[in-house]
Symmetry: C2
Subunit: 230 residues, 2 copies
């Protein structure tokens, strides 16, 4: 099997559908997808890069964030593999396969990023019906479906817990948490059912006096502050 070296190999691209929730913690958060303008061909596309010299997908994705998106991720990123695009001539420059990934990031990590976060509409399409180049529309749709599936409330079978991708900084109120889930899935949730199902996965923030810390309410009764349990 030393003829392994003799055969041509594909370039392996790592394309990233970077998703975030803007204004998490605010009254009207929004799910957004980062797209970048590019030329040759002209249009908008997702950031991506090629696997180089014994690097991993996570390292390559990290490099894409630093070099092409212009941000400096504070923690280890967790790209989620969606599918492989392997049509033999999908890239007319060379033989390239693409490993499409979803990459959820908190809005704070995207400060100063190159590109535009485009709002994702409730039906899963992009605001303004924007079309992406190459097969990136499919990647975007798969990424949105992936994150939505994990933010749905389906306690009986899938028990993902509160804000699994960490869009919302701790501590938070149940209202803030619910708004984030609603922003991701694009539909409204009942506050009572939502609280009932989230509470087992949350622990209240306790102050020095042993009392539960409350949010400083703008209007109405202050709410208890929580963080993710365990």
């Amino acid at each position: 099997m030393s003829d392994l070296e003799k055969f041509p190999r594909p370039a392996v691209a790592v394309d990233l559908a970077i998703l975030t929730v803007t204004a998490a913690g605010d009254t009207d958060p929004e799910l957004r997808l980062l797209v970048q303008d590019r030329t040759d061909p002209d249009g908008i596309a997702l950031p991506g890069g090629f696997l180089r010299e014994r690097t991993t997908v996570a390292e390559t994705a990290d490099g894409v964030l630093r070099r092409k998106v212009g941000i400096d991720p504070s923690a280890t990123i967790r790209p989620r593999l969606l599918r492989l695009f392997d049509a033999p001539h999908r890239d007319d420059r060379t033989w390239a396969v693409s490993a499409a990934h979803a990459l959820p990031l908190p809005e704070a990590e995207l400060a100063g990023a190159r590109g535009r976060p485009v709002r994702v509409l409730p039906d899963g399409r992009l605001e303004g019906a924007e079309r992406l180049l190459f097969d990136h529309d499919e990647i975007a749709a798969a990424a949105i479906a992936d994150v939505r599936e994990r933010y749905e409330i389906r306690l009986r079978y899938v028990d993902v817990g509160p804000d699994p991708d960490g869009f919302l900084p701790e501590p938070f109120t149940l209202l803030q948490l619910r708004r984030v889930h609603e922003a991701v899935i694009g539909t409204e949730l009942h506050k009572d059912n939502f609280a009932r199902r989230m509470r087992p996965h949350l622990e209240p923030v306790v102050g020095d006096d042993g009392e539960v810390v409350l949010s400083t309410a703008q209007r109405g009764r202050p709410a208890a502050l929580y963080r993710r349990a365990r």
Copy 2:
């Protein structure tokens, strides 16, 4: 970007966890995983091959079936991407990433295959606690989890329908269909609940006389024969 050619590229392996249900239609079908003996290093492993010269994953998988497994798939195969293995030195011969796939096949397609179909125990491990080489234990576990998830009965949220991978040839009785699902998931199902949930996805086989065709019972009352609806 014409320097695209200058960088080294990884070999891309397609590893296949080939799953089948033996004796589907019989009273005691079993979920099995095809493993192959190999040398250097000695042990058992999953079949696989490398992406060559502008081929797709499906084509490569098809070639693996023909050349390494020694079978001739009768229809287009549908490998299910599980995950990428990308540790830089996981293969000590060269830089290689592996795209691990599950590939469900009806037993008839595996006639004459090289390798052993090893029984999958209810807990998901292999009979005899066999250990596979390389990272193939993880691939096997992921493949088993993938197929089990799709054969579970969870009508409310996931509505996959009867025997989505076609392990069981049509037409079949509800008992045969249930035995196949039980073999895949490793647990028993109630016949009444199972029938209630499968019936909407099935249509009875109707004979020339307009009557529902019945199985030729060995013992007891003959059962109606069905095929997948639509």
